[in-house]
């Protein structure tokens, strides 16, 4: 997996950018607000068709423009492809691979794979369960793109069921009861598969996360990942037995949308009992483990995007992270100089006027 060349038109702060991307580690440096992270965001967009900063597509279009275009030459499965995404204000995005319009944008997934590390990852450990569910589901899709269909079927069925529960407004007649039966069965079908996918993934990740944590922290602490589904194994049975509650509360109370991934460090819950440093290290381990699993599954390492991760780490952790990062193409951003242990193959200064390759990389 490698990015060869990248073009941006009206993407975020960048009116027009052309960047050749050699293999190895490239570092984007420069003052705040120059658009370093936007470059990583654009690369990430071609992989997932969403922003890893969690903003809607419209926010990616340069203010004053109507359309943003991200275009890249990539090597994927040993073949070169031209991938293009057009983001139009207020309309669905369009995606072309090798000049062919994709019938479903979902078909793009897997053409370019990235692993993103960002300072926001701390919320994977500290934040709400929804972020950990997203981490699991995103990773499941990276491993097997067809999992995306399961996830979206579940989300659609859940939305339909909730819409019906709102419409019946607390009182269920026979006809609505029958319709609810239908959505119970559709939601259970997709939801049960989603729960299986999450369970298998967590089993697979468990040792991988622990290894990553021990490498990064230099400690021998035990890391456990525990899947805590909100309901018993039989989702259909749960939806049926919770029906009265759901009708009263006008939403689906239990199901995969309420699952939790509990992470413990030496048996203690990481969300409440770990120091900020341990939490940050755990978050990095989750990302690193995901990256390694995808690399193992796909056969080539995804492109690494490290958005301002070193600023939050002490020098020894920086060094450990650099050593733990697998071979492969990587892009990183840094506002305040690079740590000593980081030796990029090239350094690109991002300024208001454009990108300038800086001679004499450290």
């Amino acid at each position: 997996m490698q990015l060869l060349e990248l073009w941006l038109t009206d993407f975020r702060s960048h009116e027009s950018v052309h960047l050749e991307c050699p293999s190895g580690l490239s570092a984007f440096v420069g003052a705040n607000g120059m658009g370093k992270s936007n470059l990583l965001e654009a690369i990430g967009y071609l992989a997932t068709l969403s922003s890893f900063r969690g903003v809607p597509g419209d926010a990616l279009i340069r203010s004053g423009a109507d359309t943003a275009v991200v275009r890249a030459r990539v090597i994927s499965d040993d073949r070169e492809h031209l991938v293009e995404a057009e983001i139009v204000r207020g309309r669905p995005n369009r995606v072309l691979v090798d000049r062919q319009r994709l019938r479903r944008t979902r078909d793009l997934l897997g053409t370019l794979r990235v692993s993103v590390f960002s300072p926001d990852d701390l919320s994977l450990v500290k934040g709400s369960p929804g972020l950990r569910r997203d981490y699991l589901d995103d990773l499941a899709v990276s491993l097997h793109p067809r999992n995306d269909a399961v996830r979206s079927d579940w989300e659609k069925a859940l939305r339909q069921r909730n819409a019906l529960l709102k419409q019946v407004a607390g009182r269920l007649d026979d006809s609505a009861g029958l319709t609810l039966d239908v959505w119970d069965s559709k939601a259970a079908q997709a939801g049960t598969r989603l729960m299986e996918i999450r369970r298998t993934l967590i089993e697979r990740l468990a040792t991988s996360v622990e290894t990553a944590y021990q490498q990064l922290s230099g400690s021998q602490q035990r890391v456990d990942l525990v899947y805590e589904p909100s309901c018993a194994d039989d989702l259909l049975e749960t939806l049926r037995s919770e029906r009265e509650v759901d009708i009263r509360r006008r939403l689906t109370t239990l199901g995969p949308h309420r699952d939790e991934l509990r992470i413990t460090l030496d048996g203690m819950p990481s969300r409440t009992h770990c120091s900020q440093g341990e939490q940050r290290c755990l978050a990095l381990s989750l990302r690193l483990a995901g990256h390694r699993e995808v690399a193992r599954e796909v056969g080539t390492a995804p492109v690494l995007l490290l958005d301002d991760v070193f600023s939050e780490l002490d020098p020894s952790r920086c060094e450990a992270l650099v050593r733990a990062l697998p071979e492969g193409q990587s892009f990183l951003t840094a506002a305040s100089g690079l740590p000593e242990s980081v030796h990029p193959d090239r350094v690109i200064q991002v300024t208001r006027e454009g990108l300038v390759e800086r001679a004499g990389a450290n």
């Binding site: 939305r159 339909q160 319709t179 959505w183 069965s185």
Partner: protein, 222 residues
């Protein structure tokens, strides 16, 4: 740079609204609201009409008005019809005991094109979609049940779309149509005929595998 822009970028320096008469803009807007017509096509159609004979515009306007005035829904099957009861419902050669249930009138045309089906139709007018405020009450399901009763129907074939809403509608119909003596079937979904297996997406291929059938044994030669 060998990679020329894949899309023409809209960066005209003039304000488009002022460069165009407002009646023209109104016309473009009207076309632009039609399904399947983007801003570029809307503009092309509008300019074409303005350039062509006045007669062509008059014919178009008359055709739209006439269709809207004359065409309504068949009171039996809810397909589009110019008469109270549509031609398909009154055609005596068709099997009166079989009903094919579809979402929209255009689906009737699709099934008719197969020339495989000789029964009658029932158009629901959509699929269950609570997000759009469409529940079973908004569809012609009560009318369907009445027909099954009144017309001595022996088989109902559910031809709703193979997406989540269509499948849910099919499941719902299966439940309300569980009447003794009535066969309810769902059309199969799977691979397109004449296609290649390697080009099928995983979802379709997965469905096709689920719905597999045993191969008939050829009759032994005597």
């Amino acid at each position: 740079m060998p990679w020329v822009a894949g899309w023409a970028t809209c960066s005209a320096g003039v304000d488009v609204a002022t460069a165009q008469a407002s009646a023209v803009q109104d016309l473009i807007d009207v076309f632009g609201r039609l399904p399947g017509i983007g801003p570029k096509s809307a503009q092309r159609i509008a300019y074409h009409l303005l350039k062509a004979d006045a007669e062509e515009s008059r014919r178009l306007a008359a055709a739209v008005v006439a269709a809207k005035e004359r065409v309504g829904f068949c009171s039996r099957c809810f397909n589009l019809s110019e008469t109270e009861i549509c031609a398909l419902c009154t055609d005596e050669r068709r099997d009166t005991h079989v009903l094919c249930v579809v979402e929209e009138p255009r689906d009737v045309i699709a099934v008719e094109r197969t020339r495989e089906y000789k029964g009658r139709y029932h158009v629901l007018g959509g699929a269950i979609d609570h997000l759009q405020g469409v529940g079973p009450e908004q569809l012609k399901i009560r009318e369907l049940l009445a027909r099954v009763d009144a017309e001595n129907i022996t088989e109902v074939i559910i031809c709703t779309n193979p997406n989540l809403e269509g499948e849910a509608t099919a499941l719902y119909l299966g439940r309300v149509l569980s009447v003794p003596g009535l066969t309810v079937s769902r059309i199969a979904s799977g691979l397109p005929v004449g296609g290649d297996l390697e080009y099928a997406d995983e979802l379709t291929l997965g469905r096709a595998l689920e719905g597999r059938r045993t191969v008939d044994h050829p009759a032994p030669a005597d």
